[in-house]
Amino acid sequence: MSTCICVIVNGKPVEIVAGASVAAAVARAGSQFRRSRSGEARAALCGMGVCFECRVEIDGVPQQQACMLIARAGMQVRTDG
């Protein structure tokens, strides 16, 4: 059975299967990823590091592509959605 880890998304703990991406953790938390320049809600689109729609802040570092990073236990993720 695959193990789960806990990630904090916008202050809320989220359980996710080990090896999952930060994007998957944000989706599981039910959070939006970001607001566009005109204020639209946006979420992951390409899933492969091309579109930059899934960028979030991770452990204080902004503009990280959530689909390119594997979630680690205790990671603090913030979205502006």
């Binding site: 998957a24 599981r28 390409c46 091309v50 579109c51």
Partner: protein, 430 residues
């Protein structure tokens, strides 16, 4: 800090893996670079719940464990000069020097604008497949897959395996084109088996031809879509729409290196000779970046490029014959799934084209050339650097100027500070 390899391979999908392995077997030192944390590229992307096919596992293991190969994950090329690449990983930036370079940068999905395509819940088809493998929650979700090409079936099968309720697959190609394609399929028996296996995995999921998703609706998330089929229009309530229109080669690095490109439909690919040599000395290319050909041609071309990059003379001829057969299949696919006029007409004047900068299609109308449009509207100037909108605009038959300007990806200032005075950094100011 600089490292030097006899051969540097960019991309660890099937082409990059066989290129690195073939070169290493000639006894040279190889650096295998990938932006992802794990090897496999898109087609062999790691799945958090299901293990990869045995052949893929063997291929990845043989390459990563080879004593002559350094595996450099989470490493992105942000700049290039003759003989060296500026790369960035999560911790630092450095120069990688190479004797020869193999570009196996693969392809991305062609995502075309239509009303509602920016809503959360709308992804690419390959996009949803990639996200599902990353652990994206799909259990019990109502998923519709649409667009064009064989990737739709693969995406639907992956979504289903991850617990999604796949309501339907909508293919824009007409039934007649599909029938012609199926009749010629006997020449590729392995593909027949592959297609049959996918259909079995998708038992009970309707596969509609001549059908286009014309709009997605919802407030802050997808709620419903409109589909226009050959006989009727309908609305379908769903949680995820996975929609993609085939693939486009990732030629940005090749372009920056000065490699000659050529047209592949509305997109571009890297021009190579029979030894996978580009127009630039010491630079080779293999796989999707040389034109969409699928996994089999990528595996073969990678091996050719890896050998050629080390100057090997033997072992290449037999691979070249196999490549021709694999590439012929790709041509059939391209004809069958050519994007129709209906799809090109989906975007309305108020539909966003550039998602980074929120630029509508209508806002581009006032400008005669791509440069003018870019300067006035910022279309293509966001973090994706036009990878989504310029690819789409090209498909819509509209000019979309993309310059080979460094950095290739948004980079940290610290990385750019490594660039010499006449190198990467000053170009930022132009």
């Amino acid at each position: 800090m600089a490292e030097r390899y006899d051969v540097v391979v960019i991309g660890s999908g099937p082409a990059g893996l066989t290129a690195a392995h073939a070169a290493a077997r000639q006894g040279v030192r190889v650096g295998l670079v990938d932006a992802q944390a794990l090897p496999g590229g898109q087609v062999w992307r790691h799945d958090v719940r299901f293990s990869a096919p045995a052949f893929a596992r063997r291929c990845m293991q043989a390459t990563l464990e080879h004593i002559k190969i350094d595996w450099l994950p989470q490493t992105r090329v942000v700049g290039a000069e003759p003989g060296r690449l500026l790369v960035e990983d999560p911790r630092s930036a450095r120069w990688l020097k190479y004797g020869a370079l193999v570009l196996a940068t693969g392809a991305r999905e062609v995502l075309l604008p239509f009303p509602g395509w920016t809503l959360p819940g709308v992804t690419g088809a390959g996009g949803l497949q990639a996200l599902a493998k990353q652990g994206w929650p799909l259990a019990g979700k109502r998923v519709v897959v649409a667009g064009s090409g064989p990737l739709l079936l693969a995406a639907a099968a992956t979504a289903r395996r991850h617990g999604a309720r796949v309501l339907a697959v909508f293919e824009q190609a007409e039934r007649a084109a599909m029938l012609r394609f199926t009749r010629g399929l006997w020449r590729w028996p392995a593909r027949v088996l592959q297609a049959a296996a996918l259909r079995t995995q998708l038992a009970g999921v309707p596969y509609h031809f001549g059908s286009v998703v014309t709009a997605a609706q919802g407030e802050d998330a997808l709620r419903e879509i409109e589909v226009s089929g050959p006989h009727r229009q309908r609305r379908i309530a769903c949680d995820q729409l996975a929609v993609g229109f085939g693939l486009a080669p990732n030629v940005e690095l090749a372009r920056m290196l000065g490699c000659q490109l050529e047209a592949e439909g509305a997109q571009q690919r890297v021009r190579v000779d029979a030894r996978q040599h580009t127009s630039v000395p010491t630079v080779y290319a293999a796989g999707e970046v040389c034109g969409i050909g699928g996994r089999d041609s990528a595996l073969i071309e990678g091996a050719i490029a890896g050998l050629a990059a080390t100057g090997a003379r033997t072992g290449i001829a037999s691979l070249q014959r196999r490549r021709a057969q694999a590439r012929a299949f790709a041509r059939q696919l391209r004809e069958t799934f050519a994007i129709g006029e209906r799809v090109r007409a989906l975007a309305q004047p108020d539909t966003l084209v550039c998602r980074c900068e929120d630029v509508t299609l209508g806002a581009l109308d006032a400008h005669v050339d791509a440069r003018g449009a870019k300067l006035a509207t910022r279309c293509g100037m966001g973090p994706c650097q036009g990878r989504i909108c310029a690819t789409a605009l090209a498909e819509l038959g509209r000019a979309a100027g993309i310059a080979a300007r460094p950095p290739l990806f948004p980079a940290r200032l610290e990385s750019l500070a490594l660039a010499p005075a006449d190198g990467v950094a000053p170009s930022l100011a132009t």
